[in-house]
């Protein structure tokens, strides 16, 4: 039942000779497996999933799901399944963010975020707001296989608005090799039992791999999606621009070199392995890129939904998975042996066998999530440096110390990408010999927010502002009716007009480098630079001759809790409450580095 490890083949049941082409995919992808939902809600969902299955059949002919690709490319699928690319559309924060923007500006933000986060969903015209539980498979898969391997041109800085070649599993795919391995497979039908012709019996396979070497070019990743400019000229992501100014560009080090090798965040070699396992038979080895692309997002949704999992989708629908209470221990011997009669399970989970099957799947999901967390930490540690604690002043009135945070990359700022939300901060605690905390910075309010201007506890005067907070979170500053711009979590300039709309700016924004009303203030660390955080503990808090412990943690949180306030009015997918989202965001913070020091205060 369990996969064989983080990079197991992920195959369940026989390799079979049956085609997994289009028609088959719907059932697999949607997970419309027995037993179906029961009750009125269940009936409605059954009807919905029936309709979805029909739509998925049609869609599979245009944009095959990653689950289809998984049949022959299990390694790539498994790496991708837990990646930020795979999570891109599933993130409840992202979907709420997009909806909140549309609510503010007469829906003129349209599909702006979704073009990168769900390129196939937008291409087929799915509404901008709908639950991911109801989206088509390829759409909710976010940046799925075809998002890159069915692109044929290099569009430059296009903010995700690029077309994807349409076609079923038999249609050509685009890659960075010459298709030699595919030709070997096609040349041995007796071994691989593949069938590149539509309508013929055999394992469906794409008949051709067309070379598209631009896939390796920085402009493909950097410009197409990781350089984001709104129609109004607001530059929210500038990764490609950063890269072009970097030593990495001078040295010819590309995005792929650092983010698709064996070590995340550093140029590293590819591992060797079969590019495909066709019917259980691996192809000849060759260098394989890593499709995990360790990124900063930490998943906060149900583990039955993410990572993507072919087995999970076969077992139950996404709706049903959201009702599997894994935290209560469903499917474990401990729980199942002691569960009381009358315990009310949802109809879909009434069977103990199903719950055990689900638990098996989840155990594998947890392994995969743990592996992803390790790789995320790896990429963070290769991006951020933190010095030891340097005591600068140990005098009569104060104890002053500093830390240096540096950018270790050669290719871009840290943080980069969506740096108007990425929160990288230092959490400082100074504790006296009696265990009493004499100084804090980077601590959280009861909602989980840092004590900055966006904290509602600070804004309401219940907590003091953290004046010493070291936070690399770039801010979005928006013009107001009169007077200096203010920081806003959402960009629409509602102070200047009650009817903000996304329209092309009549000013030359390429020349100015920004929109007139909205700008990003960059506080990230450029390549080769560092920032110092300096802290001073007042002598009033200290006793001469006493030893104090300084604890410094460099933390990363993908999104600030305060953003939840700004977008919560549109609700969160998967029936998550704002508090639940906040708690999981906070709990998902990554401790990149930790430094400690004991200092005896001289007091003179």
């Amino acid at each position: 039942m369990r996969m064989t490890g983080p990079f197991g083949t992920g195959r369940r049941g026989g390799s079979g000779g049956a085609s997994i082409a289009g028609v088959l995919a719907a059932g697999v992808l949607l997970g419309i497996a027995a037993p179906g939902p029961a009750g009125a809600q269940g009936a409605q969902e059954a009807q919905l999933t029936g309709q979805q299955a029909h739509e998925a059949l049609l869609l599979e002919d245009r944009f095959p799901s990653a689950n289809t690709c998984a049949q022959c490319h299990p390694k790539q699928y498994r790496e991708w399944s837990v990646s930020s690319h795979a999570y891109a559309q599933l993130s409840p924060m992202m979907t709420a963010f997009q909806n909140a923007l549309n609510q503010k500006n007469s829906s003129t933000a349209g599909d702006f975020c979704l073009r990168c986060h769900a390129p196939t969903g937008t291409a087929i015209g799915e509404p901008t707001s709908m639950s991911n539980l109801d989206r088509s498979p390829a759409a909710r898969e976010g940046i799925t296989c075809v998002s890159c391997h069915r692109v044929t041109q290099n569009f430059g800085k296009i903010t995700g608005r690029f077309p994807i070649e349409q076609g079923d599993i038999y249609a050509p795919v685009y890659g960075v090799d010459d298709g030699a391995r595919l030709r070997e497979v096609l040349a041995q039908p007796d071994v691989y039992r593949v069938q590149p012709e539509r309508g013929e019996t055999g394992r469906a396979i794409h008949a051709e791999v067309k070379p598209f070497f631009e896939l390796r070019a920085p402009a493909f990743c950097g410009a197409v999606c990781h350089e984001v400019t709104t129609q109004g000229g607001f530059r929210s992501h500038e990764m490609m621009t950063e890269y072009k100014r970097s030593p990495a560009a001078d040295k010819g080090i590309t995005c792929v070199d650092c983010h698709m090798g064996t070590e995340q965040g550093k140029p590293s070699p590819f591992e060797l392995g079969p590019v495909a396992v066709v019917g259980g038979v691996p192809t000849e080895e060759r260098p394989l890129s890593n499709h995990f692309f360790a990124g900063p997002d930490v998943p906060i949704i149900h583990p039955g939904i993410f990572p993507h999992n072919v087995e999970a989708s076969r077992l139950k629908t996404l709706h049903e998975w959201t009702r599997f209470d894994h935290e209560a221990g469903w499917g474990t011997d401990e729980f199942e042996s002691e569960v009381e009669d009358g315990y009310e399970f949802p109809a879909a989970w009434a069977s103990a066998d199903d719950r055990y099957d689900a638990r098996d799947i989840l155990e594998d999901q947890f392994d995969l999530l743990d592996w992803a967390a390790e790789k995320r930490l790896e990429v963070m540690r290769n991006g951020f440096g933190l010095s030891e604690i340097e005591v600068r002043r140990n005098g009569r009135r104060t104890l002053e110390f500093a830390l240096e945070v540096s950018n270790l990359t050669e290719g871009h700022y840290v943080p980069s990408g969506f740096d108007i939300e990425r929160t990288v901060f230092l959490q400082i605690t100074v504790t006296g010999p009696d265990g009493k905390v004499v100084y804090r910075s980077g601590d959280r309010d009861p909602n989980g927010d840092l004590r900055d201007a966006h904290s509602r506890y600070v804004a309401s005067g219940l907590l003091p502002h953290d004046d010493d907070l070291f936070n690399l979170h770039s801010k979005t500053y928006v013009g107001i009716v009169r007077g200096p711009e203010r920081a806003q979590l959402l960009a629409p300039p509602v102070s200047r007009t009650a009817m903000p709309m996304v329209r092309p700016d009549p000013r030359p924004t390429m020349l100015y480098g920004r929109n007139r009303n909205v700008r990003k203030h960059r506080t990230g660390i450029p390549v080769g630079q560092s920032r110092h955080a300096v802290y001073a503990v007042s002598g009033k808090q200290l006793q001469p001759g006493e030893t104090y412990s300084i604890d410094a943690r460099l933390l990363f949180q993908p999104l600030p809790v305060s953003l939840i306030y700004a977008i919560q009015s549109v609700g969160f997918d998967y029936d998550m409450s704002p508090r639940m989202v906040a708690d999981r965001l906070s709990q998902g913070s990554i401790e990149i580095w930790r430094r400690t020091a004991d200092v005896t205060w001289s007091g003179k």
Partner: protein, 483 residues
């Protein structure tokens, strides 16, 4: 007193009375809810307010995207044409004591319209051509119906000349084949054509001129998050400082630098105009800083202008005088303008408080101007509304003066409506000029409300009292539709 004015004043008092207590701190819902909020369905969102005409892909519209055309340079163009804009109509009722201020005075009642029409031809994510016309207003005013006092006549103005028509892009994106390794050669922003040029919040220059500009963003400077360096040469339609004349034979050269630093945004700009026979050379320099701390926002802009080389003719006959004031002083744009700003949010609903002040010595002048009030960014009381004969409550030219505006803005209806109440004051520092006392105080009100996705109603009103005597009152109500 006309009924409209009486009603507006009553409304102002009423709304003002409501606003003041609302501006007090009002905090609730501090903690995040543990109850799920229903996820918004697509049908609960407003329909996408697309452009009037969208040829090719729409603005942020779902659906298939075209493959585009691969250019010989290596760039892929996906042309899309969007025609969009706004139509505004406003009723204005106002009077200004003839003693009050320089410029037009007296009673006015009118209904005026304005249309802004844009055509944006998007070629790629970075390259585009954009044109802007204002077909219903032109030299001499707006298309309007004059309703009083004592007259009822229609004035029609049309103007099809472009306010803006330029091409912009990124050289590196236009010619990707020249940089196949993405090393940043040619990664420069550029624009050419008639374009809006604005720096130092409009204090240094705000004009639409024919120009060519080149810029580089994210220039690495130690300690900075990125610096933008922009060079610009304007060579046609470089208008005079007061925006009165469209000058054909003036060149503008400028270097504009802007950088993000941990302590704020720094703007350092230097620009000059050359070769105008009448007005000579003018050099403007400005430095600006915008900083933020603990939810409070600060700004400081200091701009200086100096003019020389102009033709000066003293003559008893006013018609033969050139660049001489009535008091015999040489008329030049030599001066300094310092503007300080402060704003902060005063409630969890993001209601705002702002306080801006300026101090000006001499006759500071913009390097080039489109005629919008120079002190407009300081307060609504010094700004126009871009439609009809509505004038700023207080004189908006810096000329040896100081003043301030203090305002509060309250948001309603999930920020679909807002109300601004502002108190402003202007004081002359030098009363020996040709204009006499230009000081005064004003109470200004603005209300905006969006409705039906594309429509907005805006009401403005003010009451002003002037140093040289007299007062002024105006109220207007505008309906706007964006398409």
């Amino acid at each position: 007193m006309r009924p409209a004015l009486t009603a507006c004043r009553g409304l102002a008092l009423l709304i003002g009375g409501l606003l003041l207590p609302a501006a007090a701190l009002a905090y609730d819902d501090i903690d995040l809810s543990e109850t799920p909020i229903p996820f918004l369905k697509s049908e609960d969102l407003p329909p996408r307010a697309g452009a009037l005409i969208e040829l090719g892909r729409g603005i942020n519209e779902v659906g298939e995207l075209p493959h585009g055309i691969e250019m010989p340079t290596g760039a892929v163009w996906q042309p899309a044409l969007w025609i969009f804009g706004s139509l505004r109509g406003a009723y204005l009722d106002g009077d200004r004591d003839p003693r009050a201020l320089p410029g037009p005075n007296g009673e006015i009642e009118e209904f005026a319209v304005r249309m802004d029409l844009f055509a944006n031809l998007q070629l790629t994510g970075t390259e585009r051509v954009i044109a802007h016309i204002r077909p219903l207003d032109g030299t001499g005013g707006f298309t309007r119906q004059v309703l009083g006092p004592g007259e009822d006549r229609r004035e029609t103005r049309t103007d099809w000349s472009p306010e803006v028509l330029f091409f912009e892009g990124d050289l590196g994106e236009m010619f990707p084949l020249l940089d196949p390794q993405d090393r940043g050669e040619g990664d420069l922003g550029f624009a050419v054509g008639k374009m809006p040029v604005e720096f130092q919040n409009g204090y240094l220059v705000r004009d639409e001129m024919v120009a060519v500009g080149l810029s580089k963003t994210n220039v690495q400077v130690p300690g900075s998050g990125g610096v933008r360096v922009l060079g610009l040469w304007g060579f046609d339609h470089v208008d005079e400082s007061n925006g009165a004349r469209d000058r054909r034979n003036v060149d503008l050269l400028g270097l504009f630098v802007e950088g993000d630093f941990p302590w704020g945004l720094l703007e350092m700009d230097l620009a000059a105009t050359f070769a105008d026979e009448s007005r000579g050379r003018q050099v403007n320099a400005g430095i600006g800083w915008t900083g933020h701390s603990a939810g409070r926002n600060y700004s400081l802009h200091v701009n200086a202008s100096q003019q020389d080389g102009q033709t000066v003719v003293h003559d008893p006959d006013p018609k033969k005088r050139r660049n001489v004031r009535p008091n015999g002083q040489e008329k030049d744009y030599d001066g300094l303008l310092a503007v300080a700003g402060y704003s902060t949010e005063v409630s969890l609903a993001h209601d705002l408080l702002y306080a801006n002040a300026w101090w000006a010595e001499g006759d500071f002048g913009r390097l080039a101007s489109n005629g919008t009030p120079p002190l407009g960014p300081i307060g609504l009381s010094f700004a126009g509304v871009g439609l009809g004969a509505y004038r700023p409550a207080l004189w908006p030219r810096p000329l040896d003066s100081a003043g301030a505006a203090l305002g509060v803005q309250k948001f309603f209806a999930a920020e679909k409506a807002n109300l601004v109440l502002e108190l402003a004051h202007r004081r002359d520092l030098e009363e020996e000029d040709e204009f006499g006392d230009t000081g005064g105080s004003a109470l200004t009100l603005r209300f905006q409300r969006k409705f039906a996705n594309r429509f907005m109603v805006q009401a403005d009103a003010y009451r002003a009292w002037y140093g040289k005597g007299g007062n002024s009152t105006a109220a207007r109500c505008e309906l706007r539709v964006n398409f």
